[in-house]
Subunit: 617 residues, 2 copies
């Protein structure tokens, strides 16, 4: 552990995959038959080592050098080249990609675990890997056999880079207002014309070519998102024999000058300035938005991961610093002369900050890994299986919670970590300064927090007559029924049960709110509701983990015949026992402190304060 | 108004000074006899124009260039020179300084108003001005006549720069652990030896000389803060005739490489590396800490101002952007085809963010201006006057609330403002990106938020048997008694009364907590308590303002004989009426949303969760 190097919480990651989610059960299915417990453990261990040893050393340097434009193309920092190359060589970059097309075919939850490390090591590189897999998967889902053969494997090998192009200068969150056009060229291709902005890794020198997944409107198609089609547009055309051919009239107009995330260029791309940009349709005409949602949903979980990965890394750095840094005396002895100085981890205010960070980080991890594991279930289950539909609904409602809450919470955690370090945390001598800048964008791109909240409240809560929400509440209920009598967690479960009830009441009250103040009244408190629901969901998952942990601790105590009087020393000296005991404390703390904070964001909704709608700014 | 240029909320500032605090009443006292209403208004107006026209243009450039070391001295960005020079020439830099020594002698509240502008214009420059005044005032309070004559006026003219030197590399928050020594040279000076770190403007080329106020331990003095003495140490010695003489053995070892605030160099200074650094005692031996507290308390309010000034500027930029930026359709018409796009200020989620920002900014302004106005009272009142003691107690308890809450809240506001802008808010094309980096340090320096909370809970709440707290509660009570029946604010006052009661209960419960869990139990929730008490105090001040505003609105309506049916149009078109009406909405929103959020930070304290103390990280 160190306050400057990357430390990953391997113990928690392995506990979640093995003891909580039991991911190796998936090996009974054909899709993941090679992923038994031993393989998973080894993969995660080695993947995380790759993250700390190969990826993390590039983080600071890539921030200081950044990307630049040279002769109309993006030049990435030199230090990115080795982790990029090795990422593909060793298989980490395409861990989740289809084995049919050169990927490793690992479960999403296992991929997420490795990517937690890679993302903490260098979030720009992680975004690059993830977006390329996502774009390749779009081709796999919606491309012709020819496109599949031409592109997917080379994307999964890192020869080609993949992007998603939705936003335009005057259509950011409002994708349906996009002006990019497509015209049928009559030869199976379309002539594309338009400008796309905010394109992550929109151009790069790490790969030989960039393959853009672009939303455009075919001439004559309806307005709004319902008239958008999805196109594959290579930067450079690929000949029949696979060789790179002519330039496809994609111009890299500029890259943004950002606060952080300097290892990931954000480009403005112009398609067809010279009228010879060709695009290939992916999926059906006018169905582009629904095709793109596949990639967007993956990207939302990937963006949520920035919150978890950087939050966790920041917590670990702050924890190390708090153990190392000696300053001040213990508060209970502050008036006694000659009292020795202590490490700042002894100070209650520092412990408060560390506890909040720990709870939030483990809450984020619980929420994200559970969601990834649902993706795995969907991969394995038969679509006729009733569990399939339930899982799909859970995935749909959890996705905006992951994106909205984990990014905002990651920002909170890094902010608190800097506070633990004090002045040095504000300097470039420690990595937190960069994390604070890097992580800020996560709550903006892939749909801002407010967009996630609208997706939750305006779509996911109402779809299928509220069935998605009921499915999540159902998961809460079965957790309660199964565990609420657990003697060591009864108080926590009681607290959580009340919070679940409040979630339900607030959701039901929305009808009255609509009667009172129209849909605006509900939309006004959509983001607070998202944050509250996300913490309640995370709390439920942390409680499930705590149930397992207390039972494992009891088992350990019995095995080692630890006497009551020796318990404290046992917990002090046995890292596993300490971990299990901390899970209980963390879950209790989460329901006692973190959920109430999120619930308080709804105080105005409860008292029906619509001042923000009434005011004339 | 603009989303990139600095906009100051002059309407709110004037309302606070005139209608709420009635600062011109101070002109009845000798100290401020020249500051009648007209003079105050003119001063504030012109001072704020200086801020927007002369100071603000330096902000971005000073960030991009930053300070650097050259031949062992600090070189500041070229663009700082003109606002620095003009600030002194025109009197804005020393507005609060003693008229006896070349300052303008303005009330603290008037100075704060102008400094809100200067700080928003360039917080590094504002810090420079404020620290120099603070150091000059230390000389005025504790220096010999010789020192006063030699230094104060030149500091107030900007020829000399002033600093405060407390921290050392191994003693940041723990000042008493400082190792810098002083040895009586027998000629009225002391030989100083030691290293001081985190010295804001520790060296500069804007002034001819730097005058350091340094804490050091005279050989043989006791350990801890009780053995520290305060010394004046010029970088370059000043001869009898005022000419600059020999170098005083003060070495600028390095400056920090920070996330932001690049216009303000943060230096490590070495005193007496060559054994010829001379210092002059300020105040009595071993009383240095209590002398320094004068400057620290001023600096704490000055640091709180960073939160207000930058929060307000960020809110104004976000508000402009929300008015200008057209995207998406009104949510009530989202399903109707052909609905026109609207400015994003129409979207409920954006309005929520703007409302939260507005409330927090006005809450910070209320808290800070009230505190500055108490400083003015103390300047005018006879020390025998019972009001004097009450004001002093209020000042002492409000200071940590200002510093702790306004800095954290300013950070919140800038974060939210970026969210309103979306992607562009993350780029250097808009000023929020820099504000986000600049403002982050405010919660760290001059005592971190947790240090403020310890000062509040460990000292201010217990001093004189709780009299300071009682004095604040007394102010709450008289506000309640006077205004709780106000027909337009009854609901808000009811809500606030409950919050005041909770403050009292939480404070009283601390005895039980000490019995349960020792002083650690209280210290654990000290920062949440600070935030809660600060919001309750700010709410009380906003309610007082709302009482004035609704009465002024009624008056306006009567004067103009506005009919009920025309009220909406009147509020729309009359800026003053709108301002008054918004004050009511803002106060109500503050007690309904912002106070409960802060109260929720105490949920763990209420349920006596001590997990953070129990856990073995």
């Amino acid at each position: 552990m160190s306050s400057t190097d990357l430390t990953l919480d391997e113990q928690d990651i392995h506990f979640l995959l093995k003891d909580w989610l039991n991911v190796s059960r998936l090996s009974q299915y054909d899709s993941f038959k090679d992923f038994d417990q031993e393989t998973i453990e080894m993969l995660v261990e080695e993947g995380l080592r790759f993250a700390t040893d190969v990826v993390a050393p590039s983080r600071t340097e890539s921030d200081r050098h950044g990307c630049r434009m040279e002769d109309g193309r993006v030049v990435t920092p030199e230090c990115m080249k080795e982790p990029y190359r090795k990422g593909y060589e060793l298989g980490w970059a395409a861990l989740n990609a289809s084995p049919e097309y050169g990927g490793q075919g690992a479960p999403a939850s296992v991929g997420l675990a490795v990517n937690e490390g890679i993302n903490a090591g260098n979030p720009g590189l992680s975004a690059h890997f993830a977006l390329t897999i996502g774009a390749a998967r779009l081709v796999e889902s919606f491309g012709s056999e020819e496109l599949k053969a031409k592109y997917i494997e080379r994307m999964n090998r890192g020869e080609f880079n993949g992007t998603m192009c939705l936003s335009e200068p005057h259509a950011g969150s409002d994708v349906g207002a996009g002006l990019t056009t497509a015209e049928d060229a009559g030869d199976g291709t379309y002539r594309i014309k338009g400008t796309k902005s905010w394109i992550s890794n929109g151009d790069t020198d790490l790969a030989e070519n960039s393959i853009h997944a672009v939303l455009a409107r075919i001439k004559g198609a309806p307005e709004g998102t319902g008239g958008l089609s999805l196109f594959l547009i290579p930067h450079t055309l690929v000949e029949e024999d696979g060789k790179l051919g002519a330039w496809n009239d994609v111009t890299v107009a500029s890259i943004e000058n950002k606060m952080g995330l300097h290892s990931s260029p954000t480009a403005v791309l112009k398609f067809g300035e010279n009228d010879h940009c060709r695009g290939w349709l992916l999926g059906e005409e006018n169905r582009g938005m629904s095709c793109m949602f596949q990639m967007m949903n993956e990207a939302r979980i990937g963006t949520a991961l920035i919150g978890l990965a950087n939050g966790s890394a920041a917590y670990q750095n702050a924890l190390s610093y708090a153990r190392e840094r000696v300053q001040g005396t213990h508060i209970s002895k502050i008036r006694e002369p000659g009292t020795p100085r202590v490490a700042i981890i002894e100070h209650p205010a520092v412990r408060y900050n560390l506890m909040q960070m720990k709870g939030k980080v483990e809450g984020m991890r619980a929420l994200l890994y559970a969601t990834a594991n649902i993706l795995d279930d969907l991969e394995c289950l038969d679509q006729e299986d009733p569990l399939y539909e339930d899982s799909r609904m859970l995935l749909d409602i959890l996705t905006p919670l992951c994106k909205g809450w984990c990014t905002e919470t990651g920002i909170d955690v890094v902010r608190t970590a800097i506070q633990v370090l004090g002045g040095v945390g504000y300097t470039k001598d420690f990595p937190l300064e960069q994390m604070y800048r890097d992580i800020r964008v996560s709550a903006i791109y892939e749909g801002t927090t407010d967009i996630q909240a609208l997706d939750l409240v305006g779509r996911k809560m109402t779809l299928q007559n509220g069935a998605l929400f009921q499915s999540l509440m159902g998961r809460f209920s079965s957790n309660l029924e199964k565990n609420r009598e657990n003697p060591q967690l009864q108080a926590a479960y009681q607290q959580w049960e009340k919070q679940c009830e409040t979630v339900y009441e607030m959701a039901m009250a929305s009808k009255e709110v609509v009667e009172d103040r129209g849909i605006e009244g509900v939309a006004l408190y959509a983001t607070p509701f998202l944050k509250f629901l996300a913490t309640v969901a995370a709390a439920g998952f942390l409680l499930e983990q705590a149930v397992i942990a207390v039972s494992k601790l009891d088992q350990l105590i019995a095995e080692k015949a630890v006497k009551d009087s020796d318990l404290e020393a046992f917990l002090e000296n046995n890292p596993e026992a300490r971990f299990f005991n901390n899970k209980r404390i963390t879950a209790q703390n989460f329901v006692d402190t973190i959920v109430p904070e999120a619930e308080a964001l709804l105080a105005g909704a409860k008292s029906r304060n619509y001042g923000a709608l009434d005011i004339n700014f």
